[in-house]
């Protein structure tokens, strides 16, 4: 390779190295602030002031869903810790026990009063008959 091209290669590598390290430092310092939601364990470990709007995500604990007219309450768990959620409104069609959920709301007396409930879909795609076979 001739010296001019060699110099160009080095300057490209140099620019890449600098921008990669810059971006990594930014991402590293933002760290968990880029998380879309807290897990119940993170919620327990951090002192979150009440009345602050937060997002909490995890799985809906099976058998925890209680409905009374338009009110619904359930428990979000990450299988280590869990937190109770109270919500008034319509939940997405994909909301069900043992599947992913993300709620936005305020924490008051260890209960989340949610304004918004979103279903989180996982990466599994399969036809219904296969799931039935797995259950049997």
């Amino acid at each position: 390779m001739n010296p001019i091209r060699k110099r160009r290669v080095f300057s490209i590598l140099f620019v890449l190295l600098f921008s990669v390290s810059g971006i990594s430092l930014i991402l590293y310092s933002l760290n968990s602030n880029l998380d879309y939601f807290f897990t119940p364990t993170e919620l327990k470990d951090r002192n979150i002031p009440s009345e602050k709007r937060i997002k909490v995500g995890g799985m809906v604990l099976s058998g925890s869903v209680e409905r009374a007219s338009s009110k619904i309450s359930f428990i979000i768990t990450d299988y280590e810790n869990s937190v109770k959620v109270v919500y008034e409104g319509i939940v997405p069609d994909l909301f069900k026990e043992d599947s992913g959920v993300v709620v936005l709301g305020v924490l008051r007396n260890k209960t989340i009063y949610a304004e918004e409930v979103l279903a989180k879909h996982d990466e599994n795609y399969m036809p219904p008959n296969i799931e039935m076979n797995n259950d049997n």
Binding site: L16, S19, Y36, L94, A119, K120, H121, E123, P128, I130
Partner: protein
């Protein structure tokens, strides 16, 4: 010999004639693959066990998202080629790919939003995957308008190539966003290392639709690069002969 081959191919004239030679075959292959896979995916695969019929949007969303990132990588490779070897064709390719990349990113964002309404219960959330894809879309638009704002083509090419290389950092961030942070968007169903978490009956039409879409987008890139060659080399005698 390789060097000679590359030199020949890198001349816009040879490239143009080679594109014309292969274009119709690529187009025919991809359109047939795409139509078969889409029909198969939309009509002949079973419903998903939780999402029902709404999952079928993956036959558009996944190819578009895949291409939006692949096209950026192609732009970055062309940029490096241009900056090191000053191959003019590589510079034409960078600016030829940009609008098509913007288009596929747009399709990915829109189809994801449409899927989000029945699945998540929202069409937009600022999670890491969605936001980084939006940044990719804005980057494509920014690169295009930057290139257009110069009257000196060579200056524009150089600046564009440098920016494309710097912006390439966003690609691994998009790819890994679902693993590094907790996101509303699910993690990848198809990976190189693990067994796909999508059932084979749904996977085969998906692979077909990715292949078909890929080919159709390649065709667009070929046309768009032809257009760039015409604009940039319009004073050359061979272009006049060709037209």
């Amino acid at each position: 010999m390789i060097k000679k081959f590359i030199h020949q191919f890198a001349s816009p004239k040879t490239y143009l004639y080679q594109v014309d030679r292969f274009y119709s075959y690529i187009f025919l292959f991809s359109i047939i693959t795409y139509i078969i896979s889409i029909t198969w995916g939309l009509l002949y695969t079973p419903e998903d066990f939780v999402q029902g019929n709404s999952y079928r949007i993956i036959y558009l969303h996944v190819p578009a998202s895949f291409l939006s990132q692949s096209l950026y990588i192609a732009m970055a490779i062309s940029s490096v080629t241009y900056l090191i070897w000053r191959v003019k064709l590589a510079a034409y390719l960078v600016i030829a790919i940009a609008p098509i990349g913007a288009m596929t990113t747009f399709i990915a964002l829109i189809s994801g939003s449409i899927w989000g309404i029945p699945t998540w219960g929202t069409w937009w959330q600022w999670d890491a995957r969605i936001t980084s894809t939006l940044i990719l879309f804005i980057m494509y638009l920014g690169l295009i308008s930057l290139h257009n704002s110069f009257s000196n083509h060579e200056k524009a090419d150089k600046l564009l190539s440098w920016l494309v290389i710097v912006g390439a950092i966003n690609i691994p961030i998009i790819k890994k966003s679902v693993d590094w942070w907790s996101t509303l968007h699910q993690s990848a169903s198809i990976t190189l290392t693990d067994k796909p978490s999508i059932d084979p009956v749904m996977l085969y039409p998906l692979i077909g639709s990715i292949t078909g879409f890929f080919g159709l987008v390649i065709c667009l890139v070929l046309l768009s690069s032809k257009y760039q060659i015409f604009i940039r080399e319009k004073n050359k005698s061979w272009v006049k002969d060709y037209v």
